[in-house]
Symmetry: C2
Subunit: 249 residues, 2 copies
Amino acid sequence: MLTIIPVKGIPDIELGDNLGEIIVARLKDQGEEFQEGDVTVVSQKVVSKAEGRVINLSKVTPSPFASFVAKEAGKDPRQVEVILRETRKIVRMKAGHLITETRHGFICANAGVDASNVAKGKDIVTLLPLDPDASADRIGITIRKLTGKAIPVIVTDTFGRAWRMGQVNFAIGISGMKPIHDYRGTKDMYRHTLRVTEIAVADELASAGELVMNKADKIPAALVRGYKIKRGKGTGKDLLRPEEMDLFR
Amino acid sequence: MLTIIPVKGIPDIELGDNLGEIIVARLKDQGEEFQEGDVTVVSQKVVSKAEGRVINLSKVTPSPFASFVAKEAGKDPRQVEVILRETRKIVRMKAGHLITETRHGFICANAGVDASNVAKGKDIVTLLPLDPDASADRIGITIRKLTGKAIPVIVTDTFGRAWRMGQVNFAIGISGMKPIHDYRGTKDMYRHTLRVTEIAVADELASAGELVMNKADKIPAALVRGYKIKRGKGTGKDLLRPEEMDLFR
């Protein structure tokens, strides 16, 4: 049995806030504490805010290319400028959509630059964390220091998908666990060798967490309790398909 | 808080088995019962077996095209023949991979035809259910008859994704709920209007269920308890991006 516990009461996050401390404190407030085996899921949005990955568009001067793309796409040229600074490759640019490969290698709309749910000013956008694995590590280290428990951390963001409607939550940064559960070579219940069965459990844990991380309320973090994690060094990059193995770039 | 409960002890499923009855009985065996608001997640594999969507390859004669594709891809020509019969469009055919659009509109490897975890013979493959929404409906109707409760049902399969490594569980058939939670037009906590925020909650519920549906054990079904579902008529097709809106076909 698995339990997914929202971490409630997390305040507006500002530059320099210690997310690990805040999560431990808020859990305590709701009569809960970390147990060995728990996984923490934390939304990119609060991580980016704590790390100062926030830009005021009034300070951004768009390049000629950004202005051109913005006109084609019907977007704010300053926002496009910020998107391009986060981009290492434009994957699709069509019908007002800008699907890019971020500097980390994530493929998503607008390089993960997001204007929703950020701050009272209308000109504020968040960028993805510079190094989401390091962000996850820092949260995990704080939790370990405060509780003595080694808790894997997944930093997440909601992305759209090819072929399917709607967004789901994905793992972008990982600490303390293997993101892929590899069933290849194991025998299934009929003793066949399972052929292609690598489950992206970190993405499934991110999706499970999202179900309690209400976008309209202030719930940017959750615990997943009861999942048999594979401990070890993992990274969000384990979930990225190398371009030469990808049929859709 | 969300709880995900595996339905244990489901036996080998055969043609004509009543999955709704079996799930209700096995839940009872583990001292559990459906509660109002629960969602059931059921793996395609058992649905296909109960519905006879199983083919013995020894009875399949591959067409010349299937034989050609099989040779290129290093696959069994009879299996490719079955895949092509389930296919309405080949999306990618490269490096041994056959990514197709199924007759229902799902884009996945091998049109969802699967040889793992099926039966003792080596020549048996399962096909996706003919109408996964109808499969979900039937399970839901049985559960309602036996328990008096209206329980949404999601039939799932694990698919690979563009750009990312590993497979995750997706919703292919839906009964009794809306698969997409639409936040567009609602105000976020800073009173901005959220722009593009449609969450594919049925896919997230499928992923959450998969975390307790161990492929190596016999756990092809799970309950998700505590999620605020939006009731109504939903279909797996709500999750399919129309081709004219898709940048990756």
